[in-house]
Subunit: 334 residues, 2 copies
């Protein structure tokens, strides 16, 4: 094909927050599929904070993304050309194209195809994909949330958080969301219909603010933020409370310590780490339940779209700087 | 009675480590039992680090012990005079006399009586009491230790630690003990028969030392130390590893943060706080099992005895300064 393949490469590892200066746009030939491969056109890229962990060569974490290579990222793509029996041109699939216009689908496993009539294909990158599944499994399998419990959701206007607020509500819990700024708080109250919303940017003391709305303590929390937010949760944890740590956007660049050993011991709290990969065997049943809530209207889709592959670095950087509510997406195909 | 009642009162709250200067010995009349009470003579006092938490008026912890009042402490006592139907003079009981020669037993519940022919009565303060139960429940109910797993025990020469090393061994686990100094290491190897012993005082890097003997990672840990020891455990935690936090002798005076959020998340580790009080309903069955191991010879009693009530403050202070192996006791009755 004559059309060039635009792609965004990693130019430098950020010392602290990532920004556009750590990436570069370049072009390369569109790849040609071999037997067993398919060429796909990236339509949507999902922006996730998690790959920030791989933008460092500090030892101890997951493998770094080599400098000069294409930035990794999950996407929704359409098949352009197929040399494998399980895909045909025009199929919508979920895959890992990275930040580029075209990619090869080379995985051994059968791809997850999407029905564009059942839900917008982009939902597979957030609510009906990793974000919804992360929210669902942390609240159910990990935290064991029961009806009537008070559940705190951090980064509540974000992709995982907005799913978690709605799922916790559907599970019968009392939901307290923490978010930053008046727009996010309005979103939590009006769109996610949380029982209480706390603006961490406006509160001089987050622990006191949580105490005011969690009089019986916090029974469960989904903590994707860490740091001072984690500490404020622990200051109000109920006896037997469960905190699932599914991220720590406050400290992705550093190994900041967390927590309050007094509270862990005296309130007999449990902190549990979460990675979605452990739960993929249960994903089909969970996606059915999420899709059922979506069809019923008790689980709404919130997306925030940035246009153009060239703007992916800015969209990614925005994740770390109080982004607009909902799942951050990049629309790659015009 | 003409005999004066010697008692140790709390004179001042320690800013950091407790020492004899925070206590004072005084005398008072021997109390007289009312109906439903018994007068007991303290024979043994068990020294536990836990009451350190109540030697502070910093908010957020358990209720402080008022200055000027008798220091709290668990003990083994004999009944001198009884005005309740469930006790007779000469009975051995476990009670909370505090640091004094005589006390009133006023509890509503039936006291736990001891048979001095079955085991030394002092064992009820350690191995066949709170220390053994703490070790047992943390390893079984909380950490779910399975045969073949690698279990790390902190403060392994102490009362809880020495019980935990032996119990973990009896459960079929591979036991790695951490202790301080050559004497403690010899005790771990020769008396507790651990699979590996690490001297934190001699190791420049505890995480590296642990790695050398935990090649497949740490599946479970009993952490009563916290701080740098906790960090070294987390640096080597296996996927799905469980750390039970049952104390943090490294930081009783302070709310020092702990840990490694990267490790919690990426290794999907669980940290769980433990208080023995939650498990007392299961204590009779657990004590039966511990007593069975004791009779069989697979659970040995290690005690370190200080003579004289007046030396209780020094014995307590010693808990925080690399004490001799085993349960620290004070023999009050000469």
């Amino acid at each position: 094909m004559a059309e060039p393949n635009r792609r965004v490469i990693v130019k430098a590892y950020p010392a602290d927050l990532p920004g556009p200066e750590h990436f570069a746009l370049e072009t390369a030939p569109v790849p040609v599929p071999a037997d067993g491969q398919a060429l796909v056109r990236t339509v949507w890229l999902g922006m996730d904070p998690f790959p920030r962990m791989q933008l460092t060569d500090r030892p101890g974490g997951p493998p770094p993304i080599p400098l000069g290579s294409v930035m990794i990222g999950r996407g929704v793509a359409r098949v352009v050309e197929s040399r494998r029996p399980d895909l045909e041109p025009g199929d919508w699939i979920v895959c890992d194209p990275g930040w580029q216009d075209h990619a090869l689908y080379t995985a051994a496993e059968t791809p997850r195809k999407l029905d564009p009539d059942a839900a917008p294909p982009s939902a597979a990158l957030g609510l009906l994909g990793p974000s919804g599944l992360t929210a669902y499994f942390t609240l159910t399998a990990k935290a064991g949330v029961k009806a009537g419990e008070t559940v705190v959701v951090t980064a509540a206007a974000g992709s995982v958080g907005s799913a978690a607020c709605q799922i916790a509500r559907n599970l019968g819990a009392r939901v307290v969301g923490i978010a930053g700024g008046a727009d996010q708080i309005a979103f939590l109250k009006d769109r996610l219909r949380v029982d209480a919303a706390i603006d961490w940017q406006a509160e001089p003391d987050l622990a006191t603010a949580l105490k005011a709305v969690c009089r019986d303590g916090i029974h469960a929390a989904l903590d994707t933020v860490g740091g001072a937010t984690h500490d404020a949760i622990m200051a109000n944890i109920a006896v037997g409370g469960r905190v699932v740590m599914a991220g720590f956007i406050s400290g992705y660049g550093e190994r900041k310590p967390y927590g309050n050993p007094h509270a862990v011991i005296f309130r007999r709290a449990t902190l549990a780490g979460f990675l979605l990969a452990d739960h993929m065997g249960d994903a089909p049943a969970a996606l059915d339940r999420l899709a059922g809530w979506y069809r019923e209207g008790s689980l709404d889709l919130f997306e925030n779209v940035t246009a153009g592959l060239e703007n992916a670095p800015a969209a990614f950087a925005g994740l770390f700087r109080s982004p607009p509510p909902g799942k951050q997406l990049v629309r790659v195909e015009p």
